[in-house]
Symmetry: C2
Subunit: 159 residues, 2 copies
């Protein structure tokens, strides 16, 4: 198993070695058309995506289920906080683009890409406000969901 | 009257010419001991302040009333999002230091300092999620509170 997940205080962490460059992973994270191909576990799909990789930029996705789940909902919008190509991107659902507050903050995500042998050590950290939020995220299937997504990312960039 | 306030969509804005350099205002905003002297309308006081002027840094203040109001409360902690000395600082109460989500996001503040004749055009913009939040902030006394605070800032840096 190439993917590890662990708990660190209120945070959940996923780590995976991917046999592709940090630049290729950065590209998959910050090019909206590429992001749509891997950022939700199949058979869910992303029907709309915007990612502006700069502080204050929008990070918007609309995820739709195989039976039309969420089809009538608006996209959910977060905000990019840091974007240091190709090694680190930070975004949060506590804010929308331009740093405007959102209604129900749940997490901030920090993705880092470090050169690692012939590939990249990809780390995704989800920061929560409380142990309860962290536990809720675990119960929502963090390890499986983010694991599947990392698998899809690897399959895309390693080919 | 040197201070203007206005509404822009969901935002509230305060503008004031201050007869001091952008650097002096930056310093008053980012040095915790200085911040404590002006950042709450007197006779309230700030008994504790931390400001880390870098993306992800903490912005923490504990404001206490003249009759001990809030004395038993913890300080409130926000997060610095941008810090470009001496011209722009952005922070939000939607996050704590290190970008961890907070419980009840209300606003993001953007302060800019632009050279203006023999002084600085100081602009403070409060971004809200909804028109209702903006109106609530107006009713809480944005114009008077932020106006008094800008007056206190000017009195400190102009002397």
């Amino acid at each position: 198993m190439k993917t590890q997940t662990k708990v660190d205080g209120n945070d959940l962490i996923l780590i995976r070695h991917i046999a592709a460059s940090p630049e290729a992973i950065w590209d998959a994270l910050t090019d909206a058309e590429k992001l749509k191909q891997w950022f939700v576990p199949k058979p869910w799909t992303i029907t709309e995506a915007v990612i502006e990789p700069r502080p204050g930029g929008r990070f918007l996705t609309k995820m739709v289920g195989p039976n039309g789940e969420n089809e009538d909902c608006g996209p959910s919008e977060g905000c990019v906080l840091e974007a240091d190509a190709p090694s680190r991107i930070v975004w949060t659902d506590a804010l929308s683009g331009g740093y405007r507050p959102n209604e129900t903050p749940f997490m901030t995500a920090i993705m880092t890409m470090e050169a690692d042998g012939n590939g990249t050590l990809y780390t995704a950290r989800a920061l929560h406000r409380t142990p309860e939020d962290r536990q809720k995220h675990e119960e929502m299937g963090f390890a499986e969901g983010w694991g599947t997504v990392a698998e899809q990312l690897a399959a895309m960039v390693e080919r």
